[in-house]
Each structure stands twice: as structure tokens, then as C-alpha cells.
């Protein structure tokens, strides 16, 4: 069956997958390889490599990888600030989802990351739970993802690593020598960042071009292991997958025990339905919760699969600790043959913290990067003073000149976000999207302990930069996260009263409904989550094939 063609009206697929990113595509490819007929509906566009441009205005400041305001408006309550309306907190909206615009930091969760509550205890006001699975359950699927997508890294300095990576590490930025020296002088253990980016050509995918415009821009060479380049391609090669881009699923019908069909709008906004034996949702933690809450019925008046009342609750992101070091130009080597903003160095010495000041001694992973070049973004950031007032004219130019007279190094930190009752997704009563469907209302409040941990780690990173010879260190105290990394709105567990999904990510209420995006996670995690979402998607695909 060809991609993009709507099947006959009476076609009943084996599996209907909603979302083509990290949660949906691996399971799709796995199930299609086993001989199942799968339809995959994606609300975004199917961009080819030719559509990708190293153009900040188009890729970052225009709605290329997220819906425009009319189609993607949301209501956001952040702390005590007045409600905000806008197309914010979207992961990548295109075929490949957020993996299309990820940086590709692929870390495995450690054993104790699966038992945060029993290993590190409870905290007042935090609702984190232990996972119903262990690292051993996920390990074979981590291995499988690595083999499928082609990861680059160096296992030598990673103590919990059993075997080498499929590809050697990516080229390192010259500053990594200075960084290694700084870290080691303080007793830390830097290692090459494992990346879901090819360091060598593989099949018909090119090697990394080390473009400064990576991350949010998409990849032109195919080196970045987005699901568009990997699992979606594998799935389509089976000939048993129908990929339907620009199909927006807005409601699910149930007969009380099973999902019977999904309602969608096609690219011309014409409504339609699709039927399948099994439905697998993977449209990001926020949108999956919204879809379930919008699918009310007599049996489920509070939203589909929501007898526990937990759908949309316990939303988590990742907690940042953004520190920038200012280095004299002569100290900080200029890039020569490696222009990428990725230094290819990380540390996990702050994974578990030792401090009497912290109630919950959980930290995270620190990845070192150069600031992305993005000139518009950086100039707009410079046009604000510390009080948030705008700077313009010669004062702005002077500030820019001073700022760019130094070289900079930054920390991109992934700290476990504590779920709490004040961070959740529900339906907005005031905002609807272009099609008239209630939009998501997203409330975010950081747990005070998270703020303390972020400050603590920022202080440690600042010490590293100072040991490297930084002349200045700047800490961005804003805990507001970019929001691409989202989890927790349909947690998995063994108790149907407190969780939405069973340990196989199947709904406790509806036996043919699975959720495989980040929604299943019952706690935040101290590593970037894309790798874990992909591995779990394969695990669920495997379970569906054996038991579905």
C-alpha cells in the first residue's frame, strides 16, 4: 500500500498508530515486519531532505515544525503569571515528530532511575512513582534501537556499558581537551556524548556534516536518526504500512470496552474515520492526553480510558540548569574542521547528589554544547535587560559587541522533573483550534526542590567553567523549559486506580488501546528521554505482536 493514500472505507487495519515520532514509529516498523497491516496517522507534513533549510527564520521562528497559531493554539498557565495563549510547547509536528528536530543525545536510564521513589524517597508535594519495569526489561530494546538507527559513541569511559557502539564517536570540538582538563581537576569523569547521529556513511544515509545549524533545523544528510530516516522508512519498505501525513486525529469512539474507530481531519479539513483492531497513541504527552479527554462517551464521561481520573495529570518535562561560561578568545580554541555546536562531552557525576541541603538528592545529566549560532535568537535575547525591559539602538549594538568578544560554552542539563498536582494537562474552556476542537490547557509549576537541585548543579557547572579559565559565568535562573521533552500524562503501573496504563502500556480500561509516547513515564528521568521512548515503543510492539 502506498504512503499517503487513504485506504478503502471498509478497510480494517491490524493497528492504527497516531503519531510518527519516537513513540509511534519503532512499534509501527516492528509490527509491519511481523506481517501486520498498520496505518500511521501524523498531523504534520512529510518533509523531505530537500525541504530542510539552514535558515533560522524559516526553521525556528516560523511554524515549520509546529502548527501555526490557528491550528496549534493552547492555553498555558505558568506559575502565577497570567494565562498565555499561543502555539507553544509543541514537539516537532511533522513525519518523524520531535526526532526530526532533536539533538540526538541518547543515554540509557540507569537501574536506579526505574525506582526513584524507593531509592530516593518521597518529597512533600511530589507524586513520582517507581516504574513497574526494570532496566533489564528495557535493555534488549535499547540494544535493538542502537542497531536499527546507528548510534555513535565511545564505550570506553562509560562504566555501565557492556559493548561498543555501532559507530565511532563524532568528531570532538577542540574545546573538549580544555573541558576534560577542567572536569578531571575537580574529580569528575567526562565522556564522549552518545549520539543518534551517524559518524560514518551507512546504507543510503550520509555522515554528519557538522553543520552549526543542527538541532531545531532538521538534517539534510540523513545522519540524524530521526524516525523519518529510520523506522518510518523501514516500515514503508515492508509494503504493509499506510502513512497518512497531515491527518489530525481528534476523537476516538468506543463501544465501552474497545476503541472502534478514530476520527480525523484530512489535509483539506474533510472529516473521516479509520478502523483498526488495535489503536496505539503516540502523539506526545500533551496531545495524547488531549485526544483522550476530548473522546468522551457514556462509558467514559471524563474522557476515554480515564476511569482513574489520571489522564492529563503528572505532566513532567525536564528541569534545566543553563550555565554559560565566557572565555577569552585566545583560551578557547576556534573551531577549524569541526563547526558543530556539539562539543561531544557529557558528565553524569551529578546523577545522584550528595548535599545536606537537598531533600531529594536526584540530579541529572550535563551535556556541554557551544551556544547554537542562531543570530536572530541571540540578538533578541540580548535586547532584554535584567529587568526584562527592551534595549535598542547603540546600547544594543554595544551589548552585542561586548557579548561576542568572548567565546562561550554552555551546559544543557537534564534533571529529573518532579511531577506534582499543579503541573497537568486538561481541556481549555476558552481556546479551541482551527477545527473547533477544545485545545489543551497546560499548567506548569516547578516543585521547589527541583529549583534547589537546579541551582546546586548550576553551581557545580560554574566551578568546572572556572577551572577551565572562564572569565565570567552566567546562570539563567529561569526554570522554564523549552517543553519539547514531555512525559507523564498517562502513567503506567499495576494499580488501575492510580495509573492509566498497565505495565505493557495498555489501557487498564480499554484492552485494544496502547500509549507509547512519553506519557507512560511515572516519574521524570535524569537523562534525555527520546532513547527510552523508542526502546519502550519496541517493547510494546513486541508485546502487541505476541499477545495483541
Amino acid at each position: 500500500m502506498k504512503s499517503g493514500l487513504m485506504p478503502e472505507r471498509d478497510t480494517i487495519f491490524d493497528v492504527c498508530v497516531v503519531g510518527s515520532g519516537a513513540g509511534g514509529a519503532p512499534a509501527t516498523a516492528f509490527l509491519a515486519k511481523q506481517g501486520l497491516r498498520v496505518a500511521i496517522l501524523e498531523r504534520g507534513v512529510n518533509y523531505s531532505a530537500r525541504d530542510i533549510r539552514k535558515d533560522e527564520l524559516t526553521a525556528c521562528r516560523r511554524p515549520m515544525f509546529r502548527p501555526d497559531y490557528r491550528k496549534g493554539a493552547r492555553e498555558i498557565l505558568y506559575g502565577n503569571e497570567p494565562p498565555l495563549r499561543g502555539n507553544h510547547l509543541w514537539t516537532g509536528t511533522c513525519v518523524g515528530g520531535g526526532t526530526r528536530v532533536m539533538s540526538g543525545f541518547f543515554f540509557r536510564m540507569k537501574e536506579q532511575d526505574f525506582t526513584p521513589r524507593s531509592s530516593f524517597g518521597t518529597v512533600d508535594g511530589a507524586t513520582h512513582l517507581d516504574w513497574p519495569i526494570s532496566r533489564a526489561d528495557l535493555e534488549p530494546y535499547y540494544d535493538q534501537v542502537e542497531a536499527d538507527i546507528g548510534m555513535s559513541g565511545d564505550a570506553a569511559h562509560m562504566p555501565d556499558r557492556r559493548k561498543p557502539f555501532p559507530f565511532p564517536p563524532l568528531k570532538e570540538h577542540p574545546v573538549s581537551v580544555l573541558l576534560d582538563r577542567g572536569c578531571k581537576s575537580l574529580g569528575y569523569h567526562p565522556f564522549a556524548t552518545p549520539r543518534a547521529v551517524l559518524s560514518q556513511k551507512w546504507n543510503d544515509r550520509g555522515e554528519c556534516s557538522y553543520s552549526g545549524f543542527c538541532g531545531s533545523y532538521g538534517c539534510m544528510t540523513g545522519a540524524k536518526a530521526s524516525t523519518h530516516e529510520t523506522y518510518i522508512r523501514m516500515a514503508l519498505e515492508t509494503g504493509r504500512v499506510t502513512l497518512l501525513p497531515q491527518h489530525y486525529v481528534y476523537r476516538l469512539d468506543t463501544d465501552g470496552t474497545r476503541i472502534t474507530r478514530a476520527h480525523f481531519f484530512n489535509p483539506d479539513s474533510v472529516p473521516g474515520t479509520i478502523q483498526a483492531r488495535i489503536f496505539l497513541l503516540a502523539c506526545s504527552a500533551i496531545e495524547t492526553a488531549r485526544l483522550l479527554l476530548n473522546s468522551r462517551s457514556e462509558r467514559f464521561p471524563n474522557g476515554c480510558a480515564n476511569s482513574s481520573g489520571q489522564v492529563g495529570k503528572n505532566l513532567t518535562f525536564t528541569m534545566p540548569a543553563e550555565v554559560t561560561g565566557f572565555f577569552p578568545k585566545e583560551l578557547f580554541p576556534e573551531p577549524k574542521d569541526c563547526e558543530s555546536p556539539f562539543v561531544q562531552r557529557s558528565i553524569q557525576d551529578f546523577h545522584t547528589l550528595e548535599s545536606d541541603a537537598l531533600v531529594y538528592p536526584r540530579g541529572g545529566t550535563v551535556v556541554f554544547i557551544l551556544p547554537h549560532p542562531n543570530p536572530i535568537n541571540r540578538m533578541i535575547a540580548l535586547s532584554y535587560d535584567e529587568q526584562g525591559k527592551r534595549i535598542f539602538g547603540h546600547a544594543l549594538k554595544q551589548k552585542a559587541r561586548q557579548f561576542f568578544s568572548y567565546n562561550h560554552l554552555q551546559s544543557d542539563t537534564f534533571i529529573e522533573f518532579l511531577p506534582n498536582p499543579e503541573t497537568y494537562v486538561t481541556l481549555s474552556h476558552t481556546v479551541r483550534d482551527y477545527w473547533g476542537i477544545p485545545s489543551a490547557k497546560i499548567a506548569i509549576r516547578h516543585h521547589p526542590e527541583n529549583i534547589r537541585v537546579s541551582h546546586h548543579i548550576a553551581g557545580k557547572v560554574a566551578e568546572i567553567f572556572q577551572a577551565m579559565g572562564a572569565v565570567g559565568v552566567q546562570y539563567n535562573p529561569s526554570p522554564f523549559t523549552a517543553g519539547e521533552v514531555q512525559h507523564g500524562t498517562c502513567r503506567f503501573g499495576t494499580d488501575p486506580k492510580t495509573t492509566v496504563l498497565d505495565p505493557h502500556c495498555r489501557s487498564h480500561d480499554i484492552k485494544n488501546l496502547y500509549v507509547t509516547d512519553g506519557s507512560f513515564m511515572p516519574s521524570g528521568i535524569p537523562v534525555p528521554s527520546t532513547f527510552t521512548i523508542m526502546a519502550n515503543s519496541l517493547r510494546v510492539g513486541d508485546y502487541i505482536y505476541r499477545n495483541g
Binding site: 501555526d68 573551531p335 540578538m379
Partner: protein
């Protein structure tokens, strides 16, 4: 649809056309169509204001970087349409202020007068009188910086000269990789 109901619809349409004042139809049409693109004078005023936001010094300012071309191109796109009312309020304010204080339009005024008028935009008295103007001006700062620092194919950042100020941290090959 049979012939009779088809004719009834036609008659109703003609009746509506004859009974409704033309200006009401036109106003409804305009509302559906959205705001008209800024005219040449408005774009020129916006470019002059942009020059005060990002002025010429040892590195080029907004006008020599081609901000006018950028604004003409971008205000044709759907993304910038919601900025049109902001732009219009700012240009009207500048003209009004110039007429009141100096008895000339903003474009006819000399550079010093223009500079003084632009600086009154952020004055607390102006913000009290026109509460939206500060947000409008902040939007224009964003637009100006987009125009100056975007890829030249959008009309601004002539010969990529804006990136000079970023020093050695921007490697031109990055943009071509």
C-alpha cells in the same frame, strides 16, 4: 435542487444585495479579508524607526542592511499579517506626533526630529496615553532584528553584513553546510 428552489435562492441573493447598503457589504468583506498590507509610506516609516532600533555605526544599520525589502517581502506573508495593526498604530503615532510638535509628517522631518519622535514612543507619558504602543514597539524590535539577521534570501542582511557583529563565533560555512 430543483429549478424552483434554485430561482428562489437567486432571488433571495439579489434581494439581499439590493436591501443591504453597499458599505456594509464592503466592510464585511474587508473584515473577512483581514487588514490590508502596509502601503509604501508605512513601510518607509517603519524602516526609519528600524534604523533607530538597529543604527549604523562601524557595522551596518537596519536601512543599509535592506530592512525595507525585508518588510515588503514579509508583510506579504501570512505570518506577518497579525503584526499589521501594530505597525499601523506605530506609524500613525509617529505621524501624529510629528504633525503636533513639528507641523510636518514623519517622513518629511529631518533625522534629528525623527530620532526624538521615536524616543517618545517608550516614554511613560506616551504609554499612559496609548497603552498598546509599548507592545507594538517591542514587536517592531523583533521584526527589525529578524530583518537584519535573517538569511539574505528574505530581503534583509544584505551581503550577510549583519553577521559581522557576531565576530568569530559565526562561521559562514555553517550556513552552507
Amino acid at each position: 435542487m430543483n429549478r424552483r428552489s434554485f430561482l428562489a435562492i437567486i432571488h433571495m441573493g439579489v434581494g439581499f444585495w439590493l436591501l443591504t447598503p453597499f458599505h456594509k457589504i464592503r466592510s464585511l468583506y474587508n473584515r473577512l479579508k483581514g487588514p490590508a498590507c502596509p502601503d509604501t509610506a508605512e513601510i518607509k516609516i517603519a524602516s526609519r524607526i528600524a534604523e533607530y532600533i538597529y543604527p549604523e555605526s562601524d557595522t551596518p544599520g537596519a536601512v543599509s542592511l535592506g530592512i525595507e525589502n525585508f518588510l515588503i517581502n514579509q508583510f506579504r506573508t501570512p505570518y506577518y499579517r497579525h503584526y499589521i495593526p501594530s505597525l499601523r498604530r506605530i506609524t500613525r503615532y509617529c505621524n501624529k506626533r510629528c504633525m503636533k510638535d513639528y507641523s510636518c509628517t514623519f517622513l518629511a522631518a529631518d533625522a534629528e526630529i525623527q530620532r526624538q519622535v521615536v524616543h517618545t514612543i517608550t516614554a511613560s507619558e506616551t504609554v499612559r496615553q496609548y497603552p498598546e504602543i509599548l507592545d507594538d514597539f517591542n514587536s517592531l524590535i523583533d521584526i527589525t532584528l529578524e530583518g537584519c539577521f535573517a538569511d539574505p534570501r528574505h530581503g534583509g542582511n544584505r551581503e550577510k553584513r549583519a553577521w559581522q557583529i557576531l565576530g568569530g563565533t559565526i562561521n559562514e560555512e555553517w550556513f552552507n553546510a
